[in-house]
Symmetry: C2
DNA sequence: TCATCCAGTTAACAACTGTTCTCTGGAATT
DNA sequence: AATTCCAGAGAACAGTTGTTAACTGGATGA
């Protein structure tokens, strides 16, 4: 059941979202550890002290951004991994999905790539936790595949992490190629496809 | 022929190295884009203006750190990839080498992982260039392997990039496990080994 | 020996930072 | 209608930042 928010709560959420949007925009050219509280409030058009009504610190804001960037992505991952069709079809479909996501939410992708190993510990931790969730989900989907017969749990999780990392590497490549000519984007697509193909081959001969 | 530096040049290089060391230490808990010039000079124990005798900006210092962290690593990579022995031996040797390097130079590894996608464009560019050099070197070593017969140049470079990225992922995992119990470090070792094993299997069936 | 060089110093600049306390005005509750 | 609540404003705090200009004193080269 969804309760309609009062005028007050609604306005507060709107301001909060404005903080997240402004921060994400500012973070295209710097890291979270150098993002100033006043800088964000200035971009939102609000008094510096208003910040504290929504976040304890910029690190806190960063954790919220992690949730926004990755939280809603879980269903997408599950359906992509478990998609039907032969191996080659699944590869091209997965890569196209990544490319579209980078096109649609470049700032989100940049934020995650940047802060995954960034200078703010709670944010690193939040990203690590989300990526681990992805890996577990990928693993449980892989387990449904007939090809996974005979695989140990550890090996399945190993493969899942390989896929998740590969997904991030590919997303980062597409991000770098965002403003590049279509030819460069195509090169990235082909590279990522062949890397996934090689992993797929290794996977099918794993138990030899 | 190595010319002995004058007292003056020697002292200058010493101070410069002190800047690099101090910056690297400060960067364990923040990103380069938030590193202040005064912060560094304070840590070195020198006047703020002395900074300009060595670097144009903190971004410039960052580029110098990239060279220090990755520049001397190229011979190591070549010999590791081209090492003799069967596939399994090579995998364990490569991983052990990475683990030792992370133990010996954790701050360097952290810096590269952090700034690879960080907020300072010239530094990102410098890291990208160095990693591309690594990939080219790995590729030229792979080409010497009899297993590479029939491989296209593009496919060799694709595999080389896969190895380089995997190397960075593994280094980053060891970094996170630096202060963890030996059991956790062993888990990382086993995980990395199996991932390399899977890639190796995919490699040997690539031309099927 | 003497003039030149130059790594590092000192002082000062306006601009910026995070955080505190107090206040306000409209929404929410009674 | 009267009261409480609370998102945001305003002002002020001590400290910080990058960059400038003019300097000092020991190494360097003629």
């Amino acid at each position: 059941m969804s309760h309609t928010l009062g005028i007050r709560q609604a306005q507060k959420q709107k301001t909060r979202q404005a903080f997240l949007d402004a921060a994400l925009a500012l973070l295209e050219e710097q890291s979270l550890s150098s993002l100033g509280l006043r800088e964000v409030t200035r971009a939102v058009g609000v008094a510096p002290t208003a910040f504290y009504r929504h976040f304890r610190s910029t690190a806190d804001l960063g954790v919220a951004l992690v949730d926004e960037a990755l939280g809603s992505l879980h269903p997408m991952v599950r359906t992509t991994v478990s998609a039907t069709g032969d191996s080659e079809e699944r590869i091209t479909r997965a890569i196209e999905l990544i490319a579209r996501h980078v096109d649609a939410y470049p700032a989100h992708v940049r934020f995650i790539a940047r802060e995954r190993h960034g200078g703010v510990q709670p944010v690193r931790e939040a990203i690590r936790a989300q990526l681990h969730r992805f890996a577990e989900e990928v693993k449980s989907e892989l387990a449904n595949d007939p090809e996974a017969a005979g695989w140990s749990d550890d090996d399945l999780l190993m493969l899942a992490h390989l896929y998740v990392d590969q997904m991030l590497i590919t997303a980062s490549l597409f991000l770098e190629a965002l403003e590049a000519p279509a030819q460069e984007r195509e090169r990235v697509t082909q590279l990522a496809a062949r890397q996934l193909r090689l992993i797929s081959i290794g996977r099918s001969h794993w138990l030899d």
